[in-house]
């Protein structure tokens, strides 16, 4: 039996059409886009054509697109770049509690460097608390950064309303659209975004390439200094093959988006219905305001890592928000932010569909998952445990404590 890959939020395979579009730029059309000769011109043309394609998908102008090494760099350039360039206007940044680490850790870094960051909470459904956001945006706020859709629970944020709040105060808006670009509409004007991050490998393009949309008039400080590439915003000889791949992936997504989103939504809904028949299971995140391909469940008394390993042995690639290792004790910050207890968050399973996912795959998965959950429940002492015993254990230092770290 072939493998069933349901981890498209982590990464996707490169589409054969994308690979073909990249191929010429390794050995044949290898020029440096900064060179004056024909080889250089050829590379520069490919670069600019790619820029037009990506800009087109954002409803932007080509000179508003900066190519980067991926989503993480785009987030870093947007937030640090904006913060450093606009420091005189204020030192406050507002973001949400459920951002990707590329945003959260960038904000934490800025906190160590004189900026003040507010992490706005989200409701049980994963939607940003707009009242809290409104209050958090003050005179000193220079930037609001709220992701378009969450990578774990797939919740899509009401960016229109969020940008209204930011605009009312004359504050710039950055959005991490890494999970939405190519999957649902990401028109920068409609979203009201001044900065928007995207990444190639989530949309059947190559890894290590992405882009940042920078609205005309938005000033950034570069993070990588060097030559005058990307209008001085990002030095380094352009990754022409990667960028051509990103552009081709963008073109295909734009062309197939509506049909594919509808198809994945149908499969996803079938998956939800089937899985939620399992006793002691529930869906994390908003039921409808979520990415077409995202499903995120919790199973009571089951730990996520062991479930992922059990599914892997059955040929299913899935993911969990549980991180039980001595490096990172906390289960997913996203699941904690939507109000799950640590124990509930440890039992999470994320399944993210993609172009290759078939109706038959979903039926197979529905046949396998309840059985694997049941197996783990049979091994688990949690189901039969008295509340008193649980309380006693919760007060115990954990084995991790030997490494000098404590649990919350």
């Amino acid at each position: 039996m072939g493998r069933i890959y349901l981890d498209h939020a982590a990464t996707t395979p490169v589409d054969p059409r994308v690979l073909e579009a990249m191929q010429p730029f390794f050995s044949e059309k290898f020029g440096n886009a900064s060179s004056l000769h024909s080889e250089g011109t050829e590379a520069a043309e490919a670069l600019e054509k790619s820029r037009e394609t990506v800009a087109g998908a954002l409803g932007a102008k080509p000179d508003e697109v900066v190519f980067t090494s991926g989503g993480s760099e785009s987030d870093n350039l947007a937030i640090k770049g904006f913060a450093y360039a606009n420091r005189k206007k204020g030192n406050r940044i507002v973001t949400s509690a459920i951002e990707h680490p590329a945003v959260l850790n960038t904000c934490r870094y800025l906190e160590k460097n004189g900026f003040r960051v507010t992490y706005v909470p989200v409701g049980r459904n994963g939607i940003v608390d707009l009242n809290a956001l409104e209050k958090a945006v003050t005179e000193e706020t220079i930037l609001v950064s709220i992701m378009h859709a969450n990578n774990e629970i797939g919740t899509i944020q009401p960016l229109g309303k969020i940008s209204e709040i930011a605009k009312r105060r004359g504050v710039a808006l950055h959005t991490d659209a890494v999970q939405t670009f190519g999957k649902i509409e990401t028109d920068a004007d409609k979203l009201g975004a001044d900065l928007l991050s995207l990444s190639g490998h989530k949309i059947y393009g190559p890894k290590g390439v992405g882009a940042l949309f920078v609205r005309k008039g938005t000033v950034l400080e570069p993070l990588i200094h060097g030559g005058e590439h990307e209008k001085g915003l990002r030095a380094g000889t352009e990754n022409v093959a990667g960028i051509a791949g990103l552009a081709e992936a963008t073109r295909i997504c734009a062309k197939e988006m509506n049909g594919e989103a509808a198809r994945e939504t149908r499969l996803r809904d079938r998956l939800l219905k089937g899985i939620l028949e399992t006793p002691g299971s529930w869906l994390n995140g908003h039921r409808t305001k979520r990415l077409p391909n995202n499903a995120n469940f919790s199973f009571r008394h089951v730990e996520g890592e062991s479930l992922v390993l059990y599914l892997d042995m059955k040929g299913i690639a899935a993911s969990t928000g549980s991180a039980c290792s001595s490096l990172k004790l906390e289960p997913s910050h996203v699941l904690r932010a939507i109000g799950l207890t640590p124990e509930e968050a440890h039992g999470s399973l994320r399944l993210t569909l993609g172009r290759a996912t078939t109706a038959k795959d979903i039926e197979t998965v529905l046949e396998i998952i309840p059985g694997e959950v049941e197996k783990l429940r049979k091994i688990s002492p949690m189901a039969g445990m008295s509340a008193l015993e649980k309380k006693r254990l919760e007060k115990q230092p954990h084995g991790h404590g030997r490494h000098g770290k404590a649990c919350d």
Binding site: H301, V302, E303, G304, E305, S306, L309, Y310, M313, S322, A323, C324, S325, S326, L327, K328, L329, P331, P342, E343, H346, K378, I379, S380, P381, M382, G384, M385, E389, K390, L393, E394, Q396, P397, H398, G399, H400, R402, H403, C407, D408
Partner: protein
């Protein structure tokens, strides 16, 4: 985060030995913390100073399940004196090593066994 487990770990995870509870056990040890995502219970039956039967229940990561399974195999048939000496390193060694971030899971298994033995000894007092 991807974790590289040995074949032996995966084998014990796929087919854990001695799963369950022992009604009327002579000693029970439960360690771990649900907040951290791992709890282990070990049940022992003792006869003539030896562990005649042992079972476990574990809620936790792959390594936690595999280490509990292997420790029940290591302890079965051993005298109490021998079983007390089973250490973290014995568990990890038997599994062909554990990734460094997962070493404490063997701690947990050894702790659970030792807690069960302690419970047995206290009940005899």
């Amino acid at each position: 985060m991807a974790v590289n487990y040995t074949k032996k770990v995966m084998e014990h995870l796929a087919n854990p030995r001695n799963v369950g509870e022992i009604p009327g056990a002579d000693g029970v040890g439960t360690v771990g913390n649900p907040v951290c995502g791992d709890v282990m219970s070990i049940y022992i039956k003792v006869g003539g100073g030896r562990i005649t039967d042992i079972k476990f229940k574990t809620y936790g990561c792959g390594a936690a399940i595999a280490t509990s399974s292997i420790i029940t195999e290591l302890a079965k048939g051993k005298t109490i004196e021998e079983a007390v000496k089973i250490s973290v390193n014995d568990v990890a060694g038997e599994l062909g090593g554990l990734p460094p971030v997962k070493m404490h899971c063997s701690n947990l298994a050894a702790d659970a066994l030792h807690a069960a033995i302690k419970d047995y000894q206290e009940r005899r007092k």
